[in-house]
């Protein structure tokens, strides 16, 4: 098999997804609370604290504006944690992947299962944020439901990137570079905390290449009951990250494990 061949997939990715889901079932409540705590603390601190100083912002409250950004951000982080730390444990520490590929499951199936699973975690985290935002009355029905597939797409994009990074890692320490040097700046540049058009034009161009920017750009209008102008472009960029990233993750993981 050529290492650069497209992923050779079968429905055997489903038992891999189910394996992860079975582990998660027992830890679901603490896991969801853990996923929610961090963004909620930030949202309340900044949304109310900073929001009080800012006052009316872009036609709404700063809290509502920020909340939409945090729906996208928590989806990004949920998929990232799952595809970095958790996938690395299963791949390298527990050798769970080694056990699975001895069965009639290919490495590509395993990756697809992990990819789908990380997106599922994204959906859980982003969905919980949506519920909180809705409870505060900052989401318009039924538009809020349209945000769910967008959350899944954000999850797939970041799961793909995470799995590619995972294939290069030799230890958990490696992931902190990605978190600090890639994801944190991305969060600053993607219009989560402040509008992108306040930045110099060159920086704006760079920001528009980032997947999180496109996620925020769709979700924020959706929560306000509108469809973003050029929404299809945002969807297309996210889909490109999801597809190209998964291909990259497949090639890198084959290089690592199918020696």
């Amino acid at each position: 098999m050529n290492r650069y061949a497209p992923p050779n997939l079968s429905l055997r990715w489903i038992p891999v997804w189910r394996r992860n889901a079975l582990v998660w079932q027992r830890l679901a409540i603490p896991s969801i609370l853990g996923n929610l705590a961090d963004p909620l603390i930030m949202l309340f601190g900044l949304g109310y604290g900073l929001g009080a100083m800012i006052g009316n912002f872009q036609g709404t409250t700063y809290f509502a504006w920020l909340a939409a950004g945090f729906v996208a951000t928590s989806s990004m982080y949920a998929a990232t944690f799952e595809s970095l730390y958790s996938a690395f444990s299963r791949m390298h520490v527990q050798r769970t992947w080694d056990a699975i590929v001895n069965a009639p499951v290919t490495l590509d199936d395993v990756l697809a299962g992990e990819y789908a699973w990380a997106a599922t975690k994204s959906l859980a985290a982003g969905g919980c944020m949506l519920i909180v935002v809705s409870l505060f009355g900052y989401a318009k029905f039924p538009w809020v439901f349209a945000a769910l597939p967008v959350i899944v797409l954000i999850g797939l994009a970041f799961a793909a990137l995470g799995l590619a990074i995972n294939a290069l890692a030799h230890g958990y320490d490696f992931f902190s570079y990605y978190m600090t040097l890639v994801l944190t700046p991305m969060m600053m540049l993607s219009g989560v905390f402040f509008p992108v058009d306040r930045m110099p034009e060159v920086v704006q161009l760079g920001a528009k290449a980032l997947p999180l920017y496109h996620g925020v750009a769709i979700i924020r209008p959706l929560l306000a009951g509108e469809i973003a102008p050029g929404a299809w472009v945002h969807v297309a960029v996210l889909a490109l990250y999801a597809v190209a990233g998964f291909y990259l993750a497949t090639v890198l993981t084959r290089r690592r494990l199918l020696k």
Partner: protein
């Protein structure tokens, strides 16, 4: 009928060729052992046979399926016991079997019916709800063996199935493997325990530096490659005595502070030792270990 055949297998990592032209034939119902020092290429050969890595050259057929082209179909009929335990620590004993069976596409009711039998086989009846980290090393190995049987495979690959186990645990694994052999399953195992190879395998291949250097039944290998009697001698003055021994037996080997004399007739050697009270000696029949050391050398393999 051959359940596994490999011809001219080669595999390189960068510039290092670890499998350098291996031919294997394993017949149905056989217990076949791949014996070799660390780094001989045993594990890589198994991975090639399972289609987990692409050969540089050569052909493999496993249970009628060409590998790696149809490795997935072949693996559906095979069980694997890996060298390192990779049971799922997040699950109980029963869940490990259940989750693993899903990778074979087995329906839940089929595996539920098989689980009590598999637990009995693993000696883990009544431990179905135990967590993996509460099991001993021997229990984990037996569960790994039971897990390899979830799909009722025709052929079982085992990579060093008893490494790291105490003698009691090892004997229990051997007993289970013999039971599987009696049921007609084909077993392929790698090992560097001569005792294991001698007790379990009908046929062995000794592998070193990526090549198979000898093949046959344990008894035939001993008969073919080595003199039947051995005298091991050590103690003060053994070197001086060894010079004399060279004329008394066809082959003399040194390892550390011990002299090994291999011969068909050891009478002259024993007579020569009779007068040497400072020399300690042991006279025994030659074993597979002697063949192994003769063929692969006595140097350390780290």
């Amino acid at each position: 009928m051959n359940v596994l055949s490999a011809k001219g297998l080669r595999k390189s990592y960068d510039d290092n060729e670890v499998v350098r032209g291996v031919d294997l034939e394993v017949a149905k119902g056989e217990c076949f052992g791949l014996l070799g020092p660390n780094g001989a290429g045993k594990t890589t050969t198994l991975r090639l046979c399972l289609g987990l890595t692409e050969p540089g050259a050569g052909e493999i057929e496993l249970l009628g399926e060409p590998v790696p082209a149809r490795a997935r179909e072949a693996r559906a009929k095979v069980g694997v016991v890996p060298q390192f335990d990779n049971l799922d620590p997040d699950f109980t004993v029963t869940e490990n079997l259940l989750v693993y069976s899903r990778y074979f596409g087995l329906p839940a009711h089929a595996i539920q019916a098989r689980i009590p039998g598999l637990l009995e086989f693993a000696g883990l009846s009544g431990r179905g709800d135990s967590r993996i980290n509460t099991l001993s090393g021997g229990m984990k190995r037996r569960l790994t063996l039971a897990r390899a049987l979830v799909n009722d495979p025709q052929l079982l690959f085992m990579d060093e199935p008893t490494t790291g186990l105490d003698p009691q645990a090892r004997h229990l694994i051997w007993e289970r493997l013999r039971r599987l052999a009696q049921e007609g399953k084909t077993l392929v195992l790698t090992t560097h325990f001569m005792e294991e190879a001698e007790r379990l395998c009908n046929r062995l291949a000794i592998m070193d530096k990526g090549l198979i250097i000898a093949q046959g039944s344990p008894r035939a290998l001993v008969a073919e490659h080595i003199e039947p009697q051995v005298v091991e001698v050590h103690g003060a003055g053994h070197e001086a005595w060894a010079e004399k021994a060279r004329s008394l037996c066809p082959r003399v080997e040194f390892a550390g502070d011990t002299v090994f004399c291999y011969a068909t007739d050891v009478k002259p050697i024993l007579e020569s030792l009779a007068g040497q009270s400072e020399l300690l000696y042991m006279h025994r029949a030659a074993s597979l270990e002697d063949v192994f050391l003769k063929l692969t050398g006595r140097d350390l393999r780290d």
